[in-house]
Amino acid sequence: MNFWVPLYLSGKLALMTTVILVMVAAPFAYFLTFSRFRGKSLCDALINLPLVLPPTVLGFYLLIVMGPKGFLGRLWGWLTDSSLVFSFSGILLASLVYSLPFAVQPMKAAFAKVDRRLLESAHVLGLSSISTFFRVLLPNTVSGIAASAILVFVHTLGEFGVILMVGGSIPGQTKVASIAIYEAVEALRYWEAGMISLILLIICYAVLIMVNVLSEKRG
């Protein structure tokens, strides 16, 4: 039953992307929500670009940047003496870029809902911006952060185009579930494609039920 390996890779990729993005996206979301600076809309649009860009286009540019002659590819090669493209690290990096807006947007929406006076009150009470972020903002936006994490996880589970462009289909390294389904269908192995699809469907459905239960509990 070799379909467990792509499923494991997808799960690992989704989990790592989620953990990293929740940590990375929070400061981005904070910055975009509360600061005023020139070029904010340009910055916002840049982060949101993966939402509208065809995955193959994004994948193409990532391939150029992460390739042996690209800036990131050369830096990675110098640091690790290995190739970034066609590796798990490469598809992880691509996933982070591709899913960034899915992490930032729900957090931005959650941060914007917090009453500004709470944050001002924290400042007046002596808290620095960083302490206010951890002690006031984050505890009051748990549901937004959870929504962001779930969205990133589910979105990464289903990634196809960008991963295919950057990682190809190397079994055990970059051949994630969506690529395994595509290849199984191409090879007319419908039972295998059906099994992987069914497992993904059950996971996604379970996650959505969890979201509903959580939001009902939070009132």
Binding site: R117, S121, V124, L125, P139, N140
Partner: protein
């Protein structure tokens, strides 16, 4: 030992330009019609907004000096700021809210008992009444042992009876505290009841004639003063001050 404020700021419809001082133990009320710039003044004292020009000093310590480019952030001013609406942190219980920035955690219990909210210590802010929340907000700010206490329409969201009760509590508190207090309100009876000095602000400028006009209107217009209201202690303050 006093707070000196000399500030100018261009707002959407007018220039806000005021100059005043508040001594230790003095409760200065800023009153006036809505949109006159009252809240902006206290926000600038708290460090939440910057004036375009001017200085704010406390006991010789410069908080703002636009000419010298000095601006002390709100975290370093150690002021208490009770907002118009409740700004207790919803994820903490009442006790944790008050202990949040307390100078000494031993103050927390004492203050909560003084303000009669000790039995509510384990409750979340959304489980207590408006009056209790505002009491807790005052405790939260006092627990920090502020150098200046700013109160921005702290009772405006409360109903009449609770508002009256809290006014009396605040007046009693004022006698115990030796710090400058700035209280913003558009409620004249509150201003007259609490204030050692009242500044009336109209379109960003101190205009004492507005206050005189309002008081004359109250005195002359019987419709403003119902019989029941005349009987309150606030009314005697209104009458005596309006005559003088």
């Amino acid at each position: 030992m006093k707070l000196d404020v000399q500030i100018r700021k261009t707002l959407a419809n007018f220039d806000l330009e005021v100059s005043f001082s508040a001594r230790m133990g003095e409760l200065k009320v800023i009153t006036g019609p809505s949109g006159a710039g009252k809240t902006t003044i206290v926000r600038m004292i708290a460090g939440l907004e910057r004036p375009d020009e001017g200085t704010i000093t406390y006991n010789g310590e410069t908080w703002v000096d636009t000419k010298r480019g000095l601006f002390l952030p709100p975290q370093k001013r150690r002021v208490g700021y009770v907002f118009q609406e409740y700004t207790l942190f919803p994820h903490m219980n009442v006790y944790r809210n008050i202990a949040f920035a307390a100078f000494d955690e031993e103050d927390v219990e004492r203050l909560m008992k003084v303000f009669d909210i000790w039995p509510l210590r384990d409750q979340k802010p959304d489980r207590i009444s408006g009056g209790e929340r505002q009491r807790a907000a005052i405790c939260q700010n006092l627990a920090r042992r502020p150098r200046v206490l700013l109160l921005d329409e702290p009772f405006s969201a409360l109903d009449g009876e609770i508002r009256r009760k809290l006014r009396h509590e605040l007046k009693a508190l004022k006698e115990q505290l030796s710090l400058p207090m700035i209280h913003v309100t558009h409620d004249l009876s509150e201003a007259l009841f609490l204030g050692d000095e009242i500044l009336s602000l109209v379109k960003g400028k101190i205009a004492q004639d507005w206050l005189e006009h309002q008081l004359r209107e109250i005195a002359e217009n019987g419709a403003w003063i119902s019989k029941g209201w005349r009987k309150t202690s606030e009314d005697s303050v209104v009458s005596s001050r309006s005559r003088s």
